[in-house]
Amino acid sequence: MAATRRLLTSLTLVTIMVGATVLFIFWAMHSPSQVQAFLVRLVLISLIIFLAILFIRYFALLWFAYLQHAERNVASREPEGELPPVSILIPAYNEAEVIGHAIESLLQLDYPTYEVIVVDDGSTDDTLEVARRWEGKASGVEVRVLTKRNGGKASALNAGIARSKYPFVMCMDADSWVDPGSLKAAMPHFRDASVGAVAGNVKVANRENLLTRLQALEYIEGLNMPRRAQGFIAAVNIVPGPVGVFRREALEEVGGYDTDTFAEDADLTLQLITSGWKIIYEDQAITWTQAPTRALDLIQQRYRWTRGILQALKKRKGVYWHPFPDFPLWLSAVEMGFEAIVWPILNVYAHLFFAIVALLFGAGELLLYWWILLTLLDLVMALVTVSMEEESLSLVPYAIIYRFFFILFLDITKMFATVEEVLNLGMEWDKLRRVSYAGAAGGQT
């Protein structure tokens, strides 16, 4: 019943939004010439404002990302002194297909002392049995497997933190695997006692179709580039679930993960920033993850991300009116709010608006120049960011359809998710389909 009610509400929302757009088109077509002239002027002004926001956003991110990249290249990447021991946590709910691959990758880490803790969150498949195969001492590394009643990812991570014994904690997802040098690259940042967490570099492993290749480009250009830019001011606003290393003291100070949002990673990061901890980005702390291969799974993932981030922001809505003294938190919240709410809605309506105006008022040439300009910008951004990440240049041409197809497609879902979150509609954590890595290996890069 609840699911049907949510479906009906969602359909009503879609009908209202589509209906409003259609009504606007009819009104514009049948309005007097003065009104039409006014609309054309409005389009021009909107176009200029949209482009200004887009350019400022892109170039600010690119500039800070470049500064962070340059700084990292100058600074020594070699760890000095003894590396502290680390507890690595893998929360797992119905991850039997992939958990073994994640554990195996951890056993290959180039790091002196660490333990691996798998927290089975009441799985209904063979996750626990599969994880048990590595229990004990594997390759000289202590592997422990805990099991608990199902309580969600945040609860599983909290349980793991409580049972871990080392002063630093790395959290990763069960559908991911780490590069051997990841931990060694991340840990030297903790020489600065004010660093509470290090966000790693998440990359798409299964680049097997158009959708996953576009996501591979999106992770580089749309997720890692902003994270790199935020890293320059030590205020990364999301330590990603697939790879993040935390100082235990910082985790204990904020009380671990809250269980009241669907984006526990974003929520915890904002908590850490609120408590005054610096959050750093380390591009060599690489983790490979499995991206959704089907459109509906991708929509499901982004719907959850968007609503989760909005839930984390709603918990701190008061911060928007008080930029000082907590300026890093204010900046992070503003940026998250802009990326999660303002930009997707602006993007969808700008595209729709310009397409309609081009059709109705013959401003097609304007639309063409706009498209060429943005596509060139995307190509340049893709080239720069792919080079920074030392990734395959074969991803760059995907930038041509990146904005006008992929981002626009995702922004529709983000827009609906935003409306649903504002209306406080219920939601559930719908598990993404996993593919075993034996089958996905062909797509690895």
């Binding site: 699911a3 049907t4 949510r6 479906l7 969602s10 359909l11 879609v14 589509v18 089975d120 009441g122 799985s123 209904t124 626990l128 048990r132 229990e135 422990r144 497997v145 805990l146 099991t147 608990k148 009643r149 199902n150 309580g151 969600g152 945040a154 609860s155 409580a162 049972r163 269980t259 009241d260 669907f262 459109a295 509906l296 929509i299 499901q300 719907y303 969808v348 595209h351 729709l352 310009f354 397409a355 081009a358 097609g364 040439e365 639309l367 063409l368 498209w371 006008f404 197809f405 626009l408 497609f409 995702l410 922004d411 529709i412 879902t413 609906f416 939601m427 559930e428 954590w429 719908d430």
Partner: protein, 83 residues
């Protein structure tokens, strides 16, 4: 039709089709959610972490224990099942 008109047509059609595709996919996702198989005892087995529950302090039960996995214990399905 000259090249500019052709390109403009392609761009406009792409934008409108992508937006329509996005709306349809969102509806399809919602339909899939509503029509997914539901177990009879779903209420009992559904993850409970997102249901706000704030019992009075005196009646609040302790957090579920985290068990170090013991190879000798019965299989999890028999022991507690998923909730």
């Amino acid at each position: 039709m000259n090249v500019v008109d052709l390109l403009v047509t392609i761009i406009v059609v792409t934008i409108l089709v992508t937006i329509a595709l996005g709306v349809v996919t969102y509806i399809a996702y919602k339909l899939r959610l509503a029509r997914r198989p539901v177990a009879e005892d779903e209420e009992a087995s559904a993850p409970h972490f997102f249901q706000a529950h704030d019992p009075p302090a005196a009646e609040a039960p302790p957090d579920p224990p985290v068990e170090e996995d013991d190879p000798t214990r019965p299989s999890r399905g028999e022991a507690d099942g998923a909730t």
